[in-house]
């Protein structure tokens, strides 16, 4: 029972991170109808900017933990968003209105280029990071002395995810930008005719996705303590799986899918085998697409002639 509880906590933490990345996929897919394959690399860039910022602050003697985390988050979000914006501007905008697979291929190229760019300028070695935030609560203990531990960091990750989710839901539902996004999602031409700046809205969607990916990147850096230039690929594919699982285009769906995927992975590793946990994740993707291509919360898409 205690073991189960511990896996539940780990799975929810991992799922929160997947969910944050998945939101970027789902928003972009909803509005432009393309898979932003380079999104995983954006998350990886966020993690790298985070680790550089952590190290710099450490060298400059800033040690008050809340301040450090806040500064790193802000810096990483700002610069990663700039990367997200540039990727859209360079690789996707010129291809709007091109044939269906063109943006996807361009995105794959972008992903390869970004990955190797980071490898080139930051080195291929794994980057370790000393723990920033240690400690936590023991919430339960079994008779054999197995303690269920909920670390402060896990609490922060989950709370931050919930807060960002609420913030973004409000943003989409209440503000002018959110209204413009929903308009573009339904009919881009009509939205443009009615005075919505479509290019700007799409750019901002990419920026928002990149900002969330940056938060996820910084959290992963603190949580695992190691990153390398290759983490974006797997995280990207898994987050996309989460987005599809929840129903692509739906914001709560992405979060739900992320949490489910995190739980599946945690329990699979705990009870079956660690080696095949990625296979479990991909297997889930295939099964969902076969039996429920619209995902858990998605709406069916009708192809019009």
């Amino acid at each position: 029972m205690e073991y189960f509880l511990q896996q539940l906590i780990n799975g929810l933490t991992l799922g929160s991170i997947y969910g944050l990345i998945a939101i970027g996929y789902t928003m972009v897919y909803g509005i432009v109808g393309m898979i932003n394959f380079a999104h995983g690399e954006i998350y990886m860039l966020g993690a790298f900017i985070g680790i550089i910022c952590f190290t710099l602050l450490g060298l400059w003697g800033v040690t008050w933990v809340p301040l450090v985390i806040l500064v790193v988050l802000v810096v990483s979000v700002v610069f990663t968003s700039a990367y997200g914006w540039t990727v859209e501007r360079v690789a996707y905008r010129p291809l709007r209105g091109s044939f269906r697979l063109a943006p996807l291929i361009s995105a794959i190229g972008m992903s390869i280029a970004l990955q190797n760019y980071v490898q080139l300028i930051q080195g291929a070695k794994i980057k370790p990071m000393p723990p920033v935030l240690v400690g936590g609560f023991n919430i339960a203990e079994s008779a054999e002395g197995f303690a269920v531990r909920l670390s402060y960091l896990q609490i922060i990750i989950m709370l931050l995810t919930v807060a960002l989710m609420i913030g973004f839901t409000l943003l989409i539902a209440r503000t002018g930008l959110g209204r413009a996004q929903r308009a573009c999602q339904q009919d881009r031409t009509m939205a443009a005719l009615l005075g919505v700046n479509v290019d700007r809205t799409i750019s901002l969607t990419f920026v928002m996705g990149a900002a969330l990916a940056a938060v996820a990147g910084v959290m992963v850096t603190m949580y695992y303590g190691v990153i390398d230039f290759y983490i974006g690929f797997l995280a990207g594919v898994k987050a996309f799986t989460a987005a599809v699982l929840g129903g692509i285009g739906s914001l709560p769906g992405a979060m739900l899918g992320g949490l489910m995927l995190g739980l599946i992975e945690a329990f699979w590793s705990a009870y079956f085998s660690v080696e095949y946990k990625d296979v479990a994740a991909f297997g889930v993707l295939v099964i969902v697409l076969i039996f429920r291509p619209t995902g858990l919360l998605g709406r069916p898409e009708v192809e019009k002639v």
Binding site: L95, I105, N116, Y117
Partner: protein, 421 residues
């Protein structure tokens, strides 16, 4: 030349300045600092001078690009007249000349070990490109896991040879059949999906195969791979210096001096033949109803369905046939290397093959060859720039999509055209 139109210098400079500013922002955190690996603590190397350098390069590049664009806009580019007349006069001779050149290549004076080996390496990719072209170019299905079928082919040969002692010539068709079976097994459930979902599922499938190969230690050799894969023979004549008792090697049979070049040349001709078979097959099947149906499906699935074409079965054949050629190429790869490991079958490999098809112009057979020369040969010849290779590779994929989404040689014209005369 038309009269000179004054250029809008302030706007050009502003545009280039903005691009440089964005570059500086992007380069500041990533290029400006580099994390150093210390013992327990992390260090930082300051390289802030890189930031203005990067910004300056982008500024100049952007300015030149805009100047070029404004010139091109004023004088629309046209192919010079000699291109047209050249095509009229020699167009029919280009392909036979290419094939003839490929056949005589190993006998040319400069053809040493390196040249023949490199040519073999390039031809593997040409063959993979032609195989994937059936799936992506003709049927319009984006397959990001093509390398999985390549891996299935390679491992089926290696495992059959290791456990049952089957020869290469028996395994070659078997490898193709296994790969095709995998293609059908994967394709059957997922081919109903929309294009980009299909792309991700095939990617996932490719990764699953690789993870299984890594972890199934006692069967596939795990991350260490399989070695000692037998070499092919020419009708039972092995290419070895000292063969087993009672076996006549190739050089003795023909009364030649032993040379390792003979084996390499044989492998070269083997892959050349396999590649040409792939090409011929594609050219012929395009003219059959099934090939026509693929191209029609690529253009408009709904129209096809209303004309009574079963989209799932049609796509499934394309998928299976593409996979089969991937399997053949895999078996050849295994026998050429003599050693295979999951390292050779990563997602990057799939991306490279896809890039070959897309850059060549989807559906164009000649385009695949040109793109392979471009993407495989150039990086191989410029080993000194190894580190920059993949960055340039990715960037080239983006640039070519932006510049010419239809590829270098576009061939999306329908095979059948009705002439209203």
């Amino acid at each position: 030349m038309a009269e000179a139109v004054p250029r809008d210098w302030p706007a050009l400079l502003k545009d280039a300045g903005l691009a440089a500013f964005v570059t500086a922002v992007l380069a500041f955190p990533m290029a400006g600092f580099r994390t150093l690996d210390g013992e327990a603590t992390m260090g930082i190397e300051y390289r802030l001078h890189w930031v203005p350098i990067a910004a300056a390069i982008v500024f100049a590049g952007r300015l030149i690009m805009r100047l070029w664009q404004s010139r091109a806009a004023r004088a629309p580019m046209q192919a010079p007249a000699w291109v047209g007349s050249f095509r009229d006069r020699f167009g029919n001779w280009v392909v036979p000349a290419f094939i003839g050149g490929a056949v005589v290549l190993p006998f040319l004076p400069f053809a040493d070990r390196t040249v023949v080996d490199l040519a073999t390496y390039v031809l593997i990719y040409v063959m993979l490109g032609w195989g994937l072209n059936i799936v992506v170019g003709l049927a319009g299905l984006l397959d990001l896991g093509y390398v999985a079928f390549y891996a299935v082919g390679a491992y089926s040969y290696a495992l059959l040879a290791q456990y049952f002692g089957f020869s290469f010539w028996l395994c070659l068709p078997l490898a193709g059949i296994f790969a095709a079976v995998f293609g059908v097994a994967l394709g059957f459930p997922v081919l109903r999906l929309r294009g980009d979902y299909l792309a991700i599922v095939t990617l996932g499938f490719g990764e699953i195969i690789r993870i299984v190969l890594i972890n199934w230690n006692n069967f596939t050799g795990g991350p260490n791979g399989l070695s000692g894969i037998p070499r092919p023979t020419l009708f039972g004549l092995p290419f070895t210096r000292e063969p087993d008792e009672g076996v006549i090697p190739f050089h003795e049979f023909f009364g030649l001096e032993y040379s390792s070049l003979q084996r390499l040349t044989f492998l070269y001709f083997l892959i050349l033949a396999l590649a040409l078979i792939t090409n011929l097959f594609t050219l012929r099947i395009r003219k059959l109803p099934i090939g026509r149906a693929w191209e029609a499906l690529r253009e408009d699935e709904i129209a096809c369905r209303s004309l009574g074409i079963n989209p799932t079965n049609t796509k499934l054949t394309a998928f299976a046939i593409g996979a089969m050629f991937g399997g053949f190429a895999g078996a050849f790869f295994a026998t050429r290397q003599g050693f295979i490991s999951p390292e050779s079958f990563t997602f990057l490999e799939s991306a490279v093959i896809l890039a070959i098809v897309v850059l060549g112009g989807m559906g164009s057979q000649a385009g695949v060859v040109i793109a392979t020369l471009f993407l495989i040969l150039l990086p191989e010849l410029s080993r000194d720039f190894q580190e920059y290779r993949m960055v340039v590779f990715g960037a080239a994929m983006v640039l070519i999509m932006v510049w010419r989404p239809q590829g270098l040689l576009s061939h999306r014209a329908p095979t059948v055209r009705l002439n209203p005369s």
